[in-house]
Symmetry: C2
């Protein structure tokens, strides 16, 4: 029996994808090494890092479950950052050459791949917009407006409120307070893991 299909992962790639498990802190690739693969995070999280001369690490991006990373390695001969698992993670490793070929040969797949990248782009752009809002309540409202379903902008929280706070660029304390205040003011409703605008 095969493992369940990873959501968000194009089926055409399954054939050439190799599962990889790694422990927290494990190195996945290093700056300057040849770009052999593109990766997909099934569970866990991977940080893309660059280092200042003082040795401080600069996080370019933290890839989380359901995300690809190092897609740009498709058109670059070498990785330009380090990738390190920040938690125990399950990845799918896709050889860059295979993906490149598929992209060139299989027009249908090319469309799928473009759609996938475009969707991610859309999501992360709206996150940028959200993060550049000034107030905590503004950000929550923006989140609901963008990600919520239906007329009440209902959304079911995937992870914990702490995770959400991180996503919104807030401390968890501030998020708790903000949600409490918004509920008090009759702006939102909360039940278990469900968030929505109040009627």
């Amino acid at each position: 029996m095969s493992s369940p299909k990873p959501r968000g992962f194009p089926s055409a790639l399954l054939a050439c994808a190799v599962p990889v498990s790694c422990a927290a802190g494990a190195n996945i690739f290093r700056t300057g090494s040849p770009t052999h693969s593109v990766f997909f995070v099934q569970t866990g999280a991977v940080r893309l890092l660059r280092f200042g001369r003082a040795g401080e690490e600069v996080v370019l991006h933290e890839a989380r479950a359901g995300e690809f990373f190092a897609e740009a390695s498709l058109d670059s001969p070498r990785y330009h950052c380090d990738a390190v698992a920040s938690e125990p993670s399950e990845l799918l490793q896709v050889p860059a050459a295979a993906l490149r070929d598929l992209l060139e040969v299989d027009g249908d797949f090319a469309r799928q791949w473009a759609a996938l990248l475009a969707r991610q782009l859309r999501d992360v752009r709206s996150r940028v917009e959200r993060l550049s809002l000034k107030g905590a309540a503004e950000r929550v409202r923006h989140l609901l407006a963008c990600e919520g379903r239906g007329p009440r902008c209902e959304m079911v929280l995937e992870g914990t409120l702490k995770d959400l706070a991180r996503d919104l660029g807030l401390t968890h304390e501030t998020l708790y307070r903000t949600l409490a205040a918004m509920e008090r003011d009759g702006v939102i409703e909360r039940h278990e893991k469900v968030l929505r605008l109040a009627k």
Copy 2:
């Protein structure tokens, strides 16, 4: 004589791109209308908007010079937001059907397009990371580390400092003060439009 080639715009698309000029406030497409085109911003800026029931506008994204927008319309039958020029702008309009076909038929172009999306994704992801840093100085440092060239992370400012402040999610006053402080502390150097880490 033709206008200069827009940077960042795949040459294969030039044939089917139609130049469009629009005034500030002009509507480019509306929510629910069929997705006829993908757009590229040559100059100016375009906001992608969604509206709450109270009529408040929620900015999903502001596309600026050198960016595509509505790429996701390639795999969706209708636009899911409004697009409005926030300044007088010059756009290139690319029929979605043409792009779709090209993507399917021309493997070489498919690679280029994937590379373009991947690059944008990388950039905007690092912006997210930057915006989730707490301090103003941290953000400036991150910007230099990510976008700067050479060992001193030198970068030449494209626009004004006010624009940069907006990019960093700061008020211009705060950016001025932060840069002044960092220069005073010998962290960075500034000459005209050039920013770099101090030796």
